[in-house]
Symmetry: C2
Subunit: 583 residues, 2 copies
């Protein structure tokens, strides 16, 4: 079954690549059934604002079209679902360009309409010609962008408490595990468009539970003890699942904002399971919650100065959060200001936060193999920042040499020549950067790119390996070439003594036996033992998806998980590997 393809480099056109990148942030599948209500409610402009719209638009050019209150509300919802991920709620720009009215009015209505319709080589999707928006919708969005953005409402303690539900209070929960599931080998699998997670047994491949969650769960995190699973949807809904129940089921839930990406739980010795934390895109803030009930305890805004220019940014979004193993700290990565926050949770009424100046557009990252260093991508800057979590300081800031690094949590292994390294692939090209992480044993290589691998092509989201594995896996789900996006590249670590090691390409979609649609293969995740790696075969919401299990030793297909409930599977989080930061 092994499908070998010679090593090659596909240098995509910048236009196609940029489109693929944008599509990641706002995929066409993103039409949640249960999502619209929350979002539109949060974004509902006040009648004052609406009243204004039909009369005079500030700064509007003579002849510029106006819009009705209904149109404004629809446009607001579309903007949130399609545009805000890249351009920001306040349109200050990030992955996408700024769309503030000084810019949009300069261009004017016709320009905007055409831009939205046809896209651009710089990365704007062709929303019109792709069929994702009707001609009327494009027209409406162009008019919408001529108006000043309506800042969505704040979401503070009153709103959080109103949304907070404890379905099963701690005293009513089981005192011991009531099911016969080997929890540490469970996989929590995001069913993206279904707004659910599936809990799949790592040994039997059996779906043990399908649990309603927020929309498009971004990540799953496991409490230090392994008992509680926390998931967060893009709609900022956090769900806490008790793995001791039979079957595992949600025990608490909260909404922490209107858009969010990150959740984590305290892991430092003596603080296990004590706190959870969630970071929001809107409002720009994070909240520390009781780890047993999700009761919101402490909200902290991230609004502040951009690290280098020291200009105030009104919307610095929380990109990713990781719990330190060295201190009672959460590591909170703030995208627009480029600040890495070391949030000391040992005394939340006297909250100590160390704000490390790193680099703008922080995205995601992970720990090195020792757990001491945290590596995080500043994706739009092509860099990786390294934080020494023991010292609470920036250890290094380096260029990956590739375009738009996207490590997920990255991959740690021992390179045959350079010793311990951490790897990231790239959204923008086919390279994989291997970065030395051993300042004591390999000081010359520490925090430098020791080797660049060339994988199948651009559009990669995740790399993966495991301490027991001899391989490095690289996906490319956003590559426009269906053969590439349907496959996974595998490098043999032992071969990395060569300057440009070859890779093997596994035809995952072919193995899944899915003919309909153009599914993307995304995010390898090892089982607890480290002898199998699972890949999601992510198809359209109305089409068959699957998870393909690969034998790490033979690189052969071992099993295909298919089930009508497996709708748009994307991220998968093995309980043991996630809670122990094994990646």
């Amino acid at each position: 079954m092994k499908h070998l393809r010679p090593h090659f480099r596909l240098l995509m056109s910048s236009a196609a690549m940029a489109l693929a990148v944008s599509a990641q942030a706002v995929p066409a599948q993103e039409k949640p059934a249960d999502h619209g209500d929350d979002a539109s409610a949060a974004y509902q402009p006040s009648m004052t604002t609406l009243g204004e719209l039909n009369v005079e638009i500030p700064g509007r050019k003579p002849g510029d079209p106006v819009m009705t209150p209904d149109e404004y509300q629809n446009a607001n919802t579309i903007y949130f679902e399609r545009c805000a991920g890249c351009h920001g709620v306040l349109r200050k720009g990030a992955t996408g360009k700024a769309l503030t009215t000084d810019i949009t009015r300069e261009g004017g209505f016709d320009y905007l309409r055409d831009f939205i319709t046809y896209g651009s080589p710089a990365g704007m999707p062709n929303w019109g010609t792709s069929g994702d928006m009707t001609e009327e919708e494009v027209d409406m969005m162009a008019r919408y962008l001529l108006l000043d953005p309506a800042a969505p409402p704040e979401f503070g303690m009153p709103e959080m408490r109103a949304s907070w539900k404890v379905m099963v209070p701690p005293e009513e929960r089981p005192t011991e595990k009531m099911n016969d599931i080997a929890i540490d080998n469970l996989f929590s699998v995001t069913l993206r468009d279904a707004g659910q997670v599936a809990l799949i047994d790592g040994a039997s491949y059996e779906i043990k539970a399908v649990i309603d969650t927020g929309y498009a769960v971004h990540i799953s995190r496991i409490s230090a003890s392994g008992r509680y699973l926390f998931v967060i949807g893009r709609d900022a809904r956090v769900t806490m699942i008790d793995m001791f129940m039979d079957p595992p089921a949600p025990v608490a839930e909260i909404k922490v904002g209107t858009e969010a990406r990150s959740v984590e739980t305290s892991k430092f010795e003596g603080w296990e399971d004590k706190y959870a934390i969630a970071g929001s895109y809107w409002p720009p803030q994070y909240v520390i919650m009781d780890g047993n009930t999700l009761e919101p305890l402490k909200i902290k805004s991230t609004r502040g100065m951009i690290y280098d220019e020291q200009i105030f940014h009104p919307e610095p979004r929380v990109a990713s959060i990781l719990a330190s193993h060295y201190k009672p700290e959460f590591i909170v990565n703030v995208k627009e200001t480029g600040m890495i926050l070391m949030v000391d949770y040992s005394d939340i009424n006297n909250l100590a936060v160390t704000e490390i100046e790193a680099e703008r557009f922080l995205h995601d990252g992970g720990l090195d193999s020792t757990g001491r260093y945290f590596l995080v991508a500043a994706n739009a800057r092509g860099k990786v920042a390294v934080v020494d979590t023991k010292e609470g300081k920036l250890a290094a800031l380096l260029e990956t040499g590739g375009q738009t690094p996207h490590p997920g949590r990255g991959a740690n292994f021992v390179h045959p020549t350079y010793g311990p390294v951490w790897a990231t692939s790239h959204l923008g090209d086919e390279t994989v950067a291997l970065i030395g992480t051993d300042p004591e044993g390999h000081p010359d290589q520490a925090w430098t790119v020791v080797q660049t691998l060339y994988s199948m092509g651009g559009g990669s989201l995740f790399v993966k390996t495991h301490p027991e594995s001899e391989h490095l896996y690289v996906d490319a789900p956003l590559n426009p070439d269906a053969e590439i996006s349907g496959s996974v590249a595998v490098f043999k670590i032992a071969d990395m003594t060569e300057e440009e090691p070859e890779f093997v390409e596994l035809p995952i979609v072919e193995w899944a036996g899915i003919a309909e649609g153009q599914p993307r293969v995304v995010q390898g995740e090892f089982n607890q033992e480290g002898n199998e790696i699972w890949f999601s075969v992510w198809n359209g919401a109305d089409k068959e998806s699957a998870i393909v299990v690969v034998d790490d030793k033979t690189l052969e297909m071992k099993h295909v998980i298919k089930d009508p409930r497996l709708i748009t599977p994307t991220g998968k989080f093995n309980v043991f590997n996630t809670r122990s930061d094994v990646y």
Copy 2:
């Protein structure tokens, strides 16, 4: 000369008192000649905003008057000078009520016009009938308040750097003291409406220099070495004066925002003179600067959650700042959120800030006699928060029992019955609260009001004593009774064994021999030796003012400093006592 008046309690009507309090924040004298340019430039609305004004005002009731762009700009300037101090730039309210448009439009134009004209018993000055505003101005302000507030522009690093001037670079400064002034006994005296400070010799009473500064210098602070004097105007202009030059002269200057109150300099061992810090009202932020040049290094926003409700506040103003003697930290007090920030300046690129939840409406405060505990008034809440600067935690939060405590830095002395105490008087009544500050020696009294003294009347701003003194001085400059506002009450510390000790009243204005106007006596300040206390006799800008020096032993007038240059003297800061936190 001793003028004795029997102990009495003047319980002012709430209306009169509130008026006096408001008058303090926005005194009638406040018509700076050199101030308008800066303020109006900062507040100039964009043409977009102006364009909007003549057409349709959002939420405007039919028939509500509109305003021209010129009027809008004038109103903005008046609002900044007269109203923002109490109501906040964004009109969220603090000492004054909130004036957001949901409230002002509810009332409507006529209501607002009358309110501004006649004032209210709750503390609103009668701007119209007092003659401070013309009928046209009142009309304009009422219309202005029906419009949404125009948030002033941000003031980040580019603006600060553009404003930053080094008149004498460090390498061109003298290497030793070039004058024959006994610097440690100099007084830096705010000449409020002149936008200057006078440096007055503590022995000869001679004015050694008059230096142009920002408008209405709020405080003077001395670097740990005693060489540099830092002053900050309400217009957020910081001036750094080299005391080694002959005469002492400004060597650097910067504007840190559009409205500010606080400046301080690093005092921890090993960090003397290294950094300066200034806190702003607008934008709500603080900036750490090079202590040698005022070069702005690190700006930090204070926008965030109110400590108790955890609702986002867009304008949490920095009220006061103090340098810790126990750690390399600045103690930054944020008014609207009620947070006390311990800002660790030992690594400003990895800035660690501990945010202590205290109480809303933090204002000013000072250290206890040991320097370990910082006591700060939450004035509108009638409370004092106590921070243990060694542990970085809130030690206590207590009610003073009085209305609107206003301690300045407070006064430390050893009470004959209760041991070490710290005192604060009150804006809102005649009481002086004595708070125990010795948790080890007097644990039962620590952080409780051990005794309440009854002084001349409400409207007090400052209390004062000195380790060498046996007296506690209490002013009442905002009392509407000219005899009270022109006098100072003196309590003998030894008499405090009595339940309600008597006080002696010193007729300072009478001693000054000023007949014209109704000068207020404000802010006692001891000389270095601690045997004299100086009081400002603060008259109108066009009238004679003075400083009266009182012999602390005899309580007799020792000297009156008069000079045509002494225009509106208010705060006085003895170099030694200020840099050593002796108060």
